[in-house]
C-alpha cells in the first residue's frame, strides 16, 4: 500500500489496558478484616446448603421424589412460558420507549419498573382483584366463557410475568438506546424494510442486553413466591413451583431434605444465571 494506515486499537484491548489494579499493601488487611463478617454471613449459609445436600446423601435420593420432580417440571414450564411472553410483548414496548419521545413517557417508564420494587404480596393482591374469580376481568371471563384463572397454572405464569417482565423490558430498552439509530437509517437507504432492519441490525447489536434481560427475567420468575402463593395457591403438579415446594416441604410434606434438594437446585441455577449475565455484560464492551 502506498501509504500507511494506522490500525485502530480495538475497544477490547483498550478496556483491558484501562483495568489496572493497585498492588497489595497493608490497607488490604484492614479492608478484609472490616468486610469479613459480612462476607462470611453471605457465603456460609450457601456452603451449608451444599454440604448438607451432599453429606446427607439427600441430593440424589430426593431428586427423584415425585413432589420434587413435579415442582421442577412445573417451574421449568411456567418460567419458559413467562419468558416467551415477556420477550414477545416486552420487545415492542422496550423499542417504543427507547426510540420515541411522547408525553407521559417517564410516567410509563416508572410504572413498568414498579413491579420490580413492589413486595410480591402486593402484586398478588393486585392480580387477585383484577383476574381473580371476583376480579374485574376475572369475573367477566367466568361469566362469558366459564374460564377461571385464579389458582391455576395460568395464574402461576401471570404472577411470574407481572414481577419478572420489567427486568427484560428495562434491559432491552437500555440495549436499544445504546444502539445508534444511524445504523437503522443506513440499512433503510440500502433498501431494507423496517421489520427486517430491526431483525438484522437492531437485534444483533442489542443482543447482549436482550439476552441478559431474558436471563434476569427467567431467574426472577424461577424464584417467584409471594405473588404466586396469593394468586395461584400451592397445589402440587398445578401451581406448586419450586419455591412453593420448598416452603411446603418445611411445613411438613417431605421434610427438610426435600427443601434442601430444591434449594440447592435453585442456588446452582441462580449462580449460572448471574455468571451468564456478567459474562454478557463484559462481551458487550468488546
Amino acid at each position: 500500500m502506498a501509504f500507511t494506515e494506522i490500525e485502530l486499537e480495538s475497544p477490547t484491548r483498550r478496556a483491558k489496558r484501562a483495568r489496572t489494579y493497585r498492588p497489595f499493601n497493608r490497607s488490604v488487611v484492614w479492608l478484609l478484616l472490616g468486610g469479613a463478617p459480612l462476607l462470611l454471613f453471605l457465603v456460609v449459609p450457601l456452603v451449608a446448603l451444599l454440604v448438607r445436600s451432599v453429606a446427607g446423601g439427600s441430593l440424589f435420593e430426593f431428586l427423584s421424589a415425585p413432589a420434587v420432580v413435579s415442582a421442577l417440571q412445573l417451574s421449568l414450564v411456567t418460567t419458559l412460558v413467562t419468558l416467551v411472553l415477556a420477550v414477545v410483548f416486552g420487545t415492542p414496548l422496550a423499542y417504543l420507549l427507547a426510540r420515541y419521545d411522547f408525553r407521559g413517557k417517564s410516567l410509563l417508564d416508572t410504572l413498568i419498573d414498579l413491579p420490580m420494587v413492589l413486595p410480591p404480596a402486593v402484586a398478588g393482591v393486585a392480580l387477585l382483584i383484577t383476574l381473580g374469580r371476583r376480579g374485574w376481568i376475572g369475573s367477566w371471563l367466568e361469566e362469558q366463557f366459564g374460564l377461571t384463572i385464579g389458582f391455576s397454572t395460568v395464574a402461576v405464569i401471570l404472577a411470574q410475568l407481572f414481577v419478572a417482565a420489567p427486568f427484560y423490558i428495562k434491559s432491552a430498552k437500555a440495549g436499544f438506546e445504546a444502539t445508534d439509530p444511524g445504523f437503522e437509517r443506513v440499512a433503510t437507504t440500502l433498501g431494507t424494510g423496517s421489520l427486517e432492519t430491526f431483525w438484522r441490525i437492531t437485534v444483533p447489536l442489542a443482543l447482549p442486553s436482550l439476552l441478559s434481560g431474558m436471563v434476569m427475567t427467567w431467574a426472577r420468575a424461577l424464584g417467584e413466591f409471594g405473588a404466586t402463593i396469593m394468586f395461584a395457591g400451592s397445589f402440587e403438579g398445578k401451581t406448586r413451583t419450586m419455591p412453593l415446594a420448598i416452603y411446603g416441604a418445611l411445613e411438613g410434606n417431605g421434610g427438610l431434605d426435600q427443601a434442601v434438594t430444591l434449594s440447592v437446585i435453585l442456588v446452582v441455577a441462580s449462580f449460572i444465571v448471574l455468571f451468564l449475565v456478567k459474562w454478557l455484560a463484559r462481551s458487550r464492551l468488546n
Binding site: 500500500m1 502506498a2 501509504f3 494506515e5 494506522i6 490500525e7 485502530l8 480495538s10 475497544p11 445508534d180 444511524g182 445504523f183 437509517r185 443506513v186 440499512a187 433503510t188 437507504t189 440500502l190 433498501g191 431494507t192 424494510g193 441490525i201 444483533p204 447489536l205
Partner: protein
C-alpha cells in the same frame, strides 16, 4: 437534474432550502458553515427526514411532493447514502457490510459486483475484518462500496473526509474523483471545507442559516459571490463598500469611490444609479504585483494602487500578504489593520523579490472586481468596514 425545495421548522431555525442543479455525471457540494442545515438537507433527499412541505426530484423521478402527497420511503429511493460517521454495521465483516444492500440478489451478481468494488476501492485484503479493526480511511472506503453496490441513482455523502487526516484525505478525494468518472453517478456532498467543495464538485450550493444563499457553478461562487456571507465563506476578505461616482457609456463600467480609493469595476448584473452605495470584492489571489515606478502609462482598468506590506504569512507553497494602501478603501482605526489581502505563489514571491522590498504598486484588474450588491447597513463614511478575518482558501 436534481431539484430540491422544502421547508422544515426546526427548534433553532427554519430550514428553507431551494435549489436546482444539473447532476449528469457531476457533483453538487452543499457548502456552508457547520450547523446550518446541510446534513439535514442530505437526509431529506435520502428520505430519512421528512420536511413540512416540499418537492424533491432526482433524474425526473419525484421522490417527494407534499402538494401531491407523494413520499417515496427511503428504502425505495435508490440512494447511496454515506453518513458522516460511516456507520458500518459493527457485527458484520467488511464483505457482509458491503453485500448488505444486495443480499437478496442472485449470488453471481453479488459476487461480480463485490469483486469489482473490492478492487476499485482496494479492499480485497480486508474482506474478513470487522469494522472496529479498520482505520478511518478503510472504513470510509467500505462505506462507499456498501453504498455503490446497490447501483444507486444518486450518491449522497455527508462530510465524507472530515474525520480523516490530511494525507489520507487527499488520497480519498482522488479516489472519489475516480469513482465519479467510473460510475458516472450524480453526487451530492456536504462539506464545510471550501477546498474540498471546489475540488470534488462542479456545482456549489452555499447554505447559510437554513437558506440557500447561492447555487451556481463553482467558479461563479468563488469569483462572483452573491452575498457578502458567500464572499466570506469562500475566503474573499477584500470586501469594500463604495459609492458610484460614474457610469461608463453603454454600462461598460462603474467607477466607485470608497474613502480615498477609486476603482473601476464591471457594471453589475442589476441596474445601478450614480450615488448608489455598493459592496464589492476581489479575491486575494487576483490582486497583481507590478514593479513600482514602471508602466506609469498604465490604464485605468488596472486600478493601480500603491501600498506597503505590513504583515506576511507563509503557507509553504504560497504567501498571504497584508497591505496598507496609500489611499485606503476605508478609514483605519487600528495601527495594525490592513487594507488589502493579497495571495501570491511562493514562486512569484521569490522571483519578484517580495522578501527584500515592501513598497509595491498593486493592480486590481477591473474584470476581477465583483460587485456583490447594494451596501446594507449604515453609511460608510467614517466607518471601519474591515471584515474580521476568517479562515479560507488562499
Amino acid at each position: 437534474m436534481l431539484e430540491v425545495t422544502f421547508r422544515k421548522q426546526l427548534k433553532e431555525f427554519t430550514l428553507d432550502i431551494d435549489f436546482r442543479a444539473p447532476t449528469e455525471g457531476g457533483a453538487v457540494a452543499l457548502f456552508g458553515p457547520s450547523g446550518t442545515g446541510k446534513s439535514l438537507t442530505l437526509q431529506v433527499i435520502a428520505g430519512l427526514f421528512e420536511p413540512d412541505a416540499g418537492r424533491i426530484v432526482v433524474n425526473e423521478q419525484v421522490l417527494l411532493d407534499t402538494s401531491r402527497r407523494i413520499f417515496v420511503p427511503a428504502r425505495l429511493r435508490r440512494v447511496g447514502y454515506v453518513p458522516q460517521s460511516y456507520t458500518l454495521f459493527p457485527h458484520l465483516n467488511v464483505r457482509d457490510n458491503i453485500l448488505f444492500g444486495v443480499r437478496k440478489r442472485p449470488r453471481p451478481e453479488q459476487e461480480s459486483r463485490l469483486a469489482e468494488l473490492l478492487r476499485v476501492l482496494r479492499l480485497e485484503d480486508l474482506q474478513e475484518r470487522r469494522p472496529a479493526r479498520l482505520s478511518g480511511g478503510q472504513q470510509q472506503r467500505v462505506a462507499l462500496a456498501r453504498a455503490l453496490i446497490t447501483d444507486p441513482q444518486i450518491l449522497l455523502l455527508d462530510e465524507p473526509f472530515t474525520a480523516l487526516d490530511s494525507i489520507i484525505r487527499g488520497r480519498l478525494q482522488e479516489e472519489l474523483l475516480n469513482i465519479k468518472e467510473r460510475f458516472r453517478l450524480p453526487i451530492v456532498l456536504v462539506t464545510h471545507d471550501l477546498n474540498e467543495a471546489y475540488t470534488l464538485s462542479e456545482q456549489m450550493v452555499v447554505i447559510d442559516q437554513g437558506r440557500v444563499v447561492q447555487s451556481d457553478r463553482r467558479d461563479e461562487v468563488l469569483f462572483r459571490p452573491a452575498t457578502e456571507a458567500v464572499a466570506r465563506f469562500t475566503g474573499t476578505k477584500n470586501i469594500f463598500a463604495g459609492r458610484v461616482i460614474e457610469i461608463g457609456p453603454q454600462e461598460s463600467y462603474v467607477r466607485l469611490r470608497s474613502h480615498r480609493a477609486e476603482v473601476l469595476a464591471p457594471y453589475p448584473a442589476f441596474p445601478v444609479e450614480p450615488g448608489a452605495l455598493l459592496d464589492f470584492c476581489i479575491r486575494p489571489e487576483r490582486v497583481l504585483f507590478t514593479i513600482l515606478g514602471r508602466s506609469r502609462d498604465r490604464g485605468d482598468d488596472g486600478n493601480y494602487m500603491e501600498g506597503k506590506i505590513i504583515r506576511e504569512v507563509a503557507h509553504g507553497t504560497s504567501y498571504t500578504l497584508y497591505l496598507r494602501l496609500d489611499k485606503p478603501f476605508h478609514k483605519t482605526t487600528h495601527a495594525t489593520s490592513y487594507d488589502l489581502m493579497v495571495g501570491v505563489s511562493a514562486e512569484v514571491y521569490g522571483r519578484i523579490g517580495i522578501a527584500e522590498q515592501k513598497k509595491w504598486l498593486v493592480a486590481l484588474p477591473k474584470e476581477q472586481l465583483h460587485i456583490i450588491g447594494s451596501h446594507r447597513g449604515s453609511d460608510i463614511d467614517g466607518q471601519d468596514l474591515q471584515i474580521t478575518s476568517t479562515s479560507g482558501l488562499v
